[in-house]
């Protein structure tokens, strides 16, 4: 199969510029938020908006330290904890969902049950209703079982939330594989465990990465469940962000933008590391065996 446009820069300049322009349009809101994070309060609220200004780190310092009005000294905020919570909760639950989803989807793909498709459909139904519909029963269940406000409560919920997505996505990657390779490995003396870990998993690493990143982005930005089911100790960044909106002195846009900017970094970092895998993952089915 001929591989056209394999090297970077083989597309013409016209196409490249056009793509660049579209990219800029998409990126502009993010760019503006990052810019705002470096603005003083008057600069952030200035009309017409300022593109050029003297940058300041004050907002970023403000994320972690706040001047107390009563004592006049600066005081550490809990934002560090919230960032830790977001990272810990999102990575753990998405990781767990990926492990469960990979095992389950391998079973669904290779050892189909009677009514396999029905099971798969049922698994997906949990994602069909808007979360707001189930939030009250879930809240009551969490209160009753004592899971509300704990790490494991919210991790459990996010894991359950991500499993259907993982199963469906990873199953499609397993389905794409040539099962003959597994049979060949069996003929060559590989055990079932070896077939799975040494022959199947390496072939779908790209797909697993893609699934992980998509799940991570969803979970990272989740607000509703986090708002109701996390406690003071387990609060995540989106919830903390929302709380900065309601001050007596109005919205501090610079502070908010600084939190958002910091909030972008971990996701950006993960996506960047997995970039190559991701591209292969999302184009998985389009490659000839």
């Amino acid at each position: 199969m001929a591989r056209k446009y394999r090297e970077i820069g083989q597309a013409g300049w016209g196409h490249t510029l056009f793509a660049g322009f579209i990219g800029l349009v998409y990126f502009f809101p993010v760019f503006w938020i990052i810019l705002t994070a470096f603005k003083t309060r008057p600069d952030a609220l200035a009309v017409p908006p300022k593109l050029f200004f003297t940058p300041t780190w004050d907002n970023f310092i403000g994320v972690f330290y706040r001047a107390s009005i009563t004592t006049g000294t600066s005081q550490a905020t809990d934002m560090g904890l919230y960032f830790f919570n977001s990272i810990f909760i999102a990575f753990t639950s998405v990781g767990l969902a990926l492990i469960v989803g990979t095992l389950a989807s391998y079973a669904f793909s290779r050892y189909p049950l009677r009514g396999n498709d029905i099971y798969l459909f049922i698994i997906l139904t949990t994602r069909m209703m808007p979360p707001i519909v189930v939030i009250i029963p879930i809240f009551l269940m969490f209160r009753l079982s004592g899971l509300a406000g704990s790490y494991w409560g919210i991790i459990l919920l996010y894991t359950a939330f991500n499993i259907p997505f993982s199963i469906w996505l990873v199953k499609s990657f397993f389905d794409e594989l040539n099962p003959e390779i597994e049979d060949a490995a069996r003929m060559d003396g590989a055990t079932e465990r070896r077939v799975f870990f040494n022959f199947c998993i390496p072939q779908i690493l790209a797909g697993l990465s893609a699934t992980f990143v998509f799940g991570l982005i969803l979970t990272w930005n989740e607000f509703l469940f986090a708002l109701l089911l996390t406690g003071v100790e387990t609060r995540t960044v989106p919830v903390a962000m929302a709380r900065t909106l309601g001050g007596e002195v109005g919205v501090d846009y610079g502070l908010l933008a600084a939190i958002v900017t910091l909030f972008l970094i971990p996701i950006f970092f993960v996506t960047f590391i997995l970039q190559n895998q991701l591209l292969r993952g999302v184009t998985f089915g389009t490659i000839k065996k």
Partner: protein
């Protein structure tokens, strides 16, 4: 080493994929399982390999029942339709993989890989990954991986189906050569009759999970045991014409009447005398056996050329007289064109007669 299948059966739910087949493959023998897709030939192969469990019946290797052994314990080598090369491993590593479980030293493994690589001319591509190989090279690596061990038998699943015509002919010869040097029973699954006819010592023709006939390529072609085998083997397909037996004698002289009223007096197998006059039969004659003649005769049919297909050295003519369709192959020099009224002769002894139950009418030889 011998393989023997006894009443081997595989059912998937209500579907019977393989229906109580009996089969033996001798030491050094190459047996082809030939049949249309879905006839159970691959399932049979996979049961021999141990990748599929038999529902009933036995798989015997050298007289020992191996139904419950894992593929590895059976020590059989199998090559797959899509080659099934390990994508992350190089050609050399692919070849060496089956040896790992044998606990050989590294130098031994290297020697074996080098041996196989030189047999199959893979020396120069040992470091490449499967994705960098041409189809023919992938096929050779797959063959190499199955012969690198010293297995009890060899199994090939549609070994040439992915290659283009030219490469297929080349590889057919190459595989045949490799197999001749390995005195082990070999089973090849194919839906391509040419592959089966050229490579096999014996062919087992399968349909709907049953074996219709097992015999040498020559016999399967010359003396098909039933209507299905007759129609399945040979290109262009054998002419199969419905007829009614008028009378016959003990020497095989028989008179037939066709729909439309034409009559034919030909010599067929003497066993025809078993059939009562008036029996409905199917006559089978290969397109290459039909002869064009100038004047109608008692052993000829009159018909009209409907379509002419030049095939190079030969010409294939389709004919119809409003009731029967016939195919005839003649030398390319014979002038033929659509609309020609011609007479085709059935030479003595080349017409097969099939009874109503589709079995051939033939004396046991």
């Amino acid at each position: 080493m011998t393989i023997e299948l006894r009443q081997l059966t595989k059912r998937f739910g209500a579907l019977t994929a393989v229906d109580a087949i009996d089969l033996q493959v001798g030491d050094g023998e190459v047996l082809c399982l030939l049949g249309p897709s879905g006839c159970g030939k691959t399932t049979t192969l996979r049961m021999v390999a141990g990748l599929e469990m038999a529902t009933e019946g036995d798989v015997m290797l050298d007289g020992k029942r191996i139904n419950d052994l894992s593929p590895r314990q059976r020590n059989v080598a199998m090559s797959f339709q899509f080659y099934a090369l390990y994508p992350a491993l190089s050609v050399a590593e692919n070849l060496a993989y089956p040896l790992h479980a044998d606990k050989l030293s590294n130098s031994e493994i290297e020697t074996r890989v080098a041996q196989v690589a030189s047999t199959l001319q893979l020396d120069r591509i040992l470091k490449r990954k499967p994705s960098q190989l041409a189809e023919g090279e992938k096929q050779r690596v797959a063959v190499g991986r199955s012969i690198i061990r010293n297995p009890n038998c060899f199994l090939f699943d549609e070994p040439l189906s992915r290659l283009d015509v030219q490469l297929r002919e080349e590889m057919r010869g190459e595989i045949k050569l490799v197999l001749q040097n390995l005195s082990r029973p070999t089973v090849i699954v194919t839906h391509d009759q040419l592959e089966a006819l050229t490579m096999a010592d014996r062919i087992a023709v399968m349909r709907d999970g049953r074996i219709e006939q097992v015999d040498t390529p020559h016999n399967v072609f010359q003396t098909p045991s039933n209507l299905f085998v007759a129609g399945f083997i040979g290109t262009p397909q054998m002419n199969l014409i419905a007829a009614q037996l008028k009378d016959s004698d003990s020497h095989g002289q028989a008179n037939f009447i066709f729909e439309g009223g034409q009559a034919l007096k030909i010599k067929v197998d003497p066993a025809i005398s078993r059939l009562a006059p008036g029996s409905k039969v199917t006559l089978g004659i290969r397109p290459r056996n039909l002869k064009m003649i100038d004047e109608p005769a008692e052993d000829s049919l009159s018909t009209q050329v409907d379509l002419v297909e030049p095939m190079g050295a030969e010409t294939l003519a389709h004919m119809r007289d409003g009731f029967q369709n016939l195919r005839l192959v003649t030398d390319w020099r014979v002038p033929l064109s659509e609309g020609n009224k011609i007479h085709v002769r059935f030479p003595p002894g080349v017409t097969h007669v099939f009874a109503k139950d589709e079995t051939v009418i033939r004396r046991k030889s």
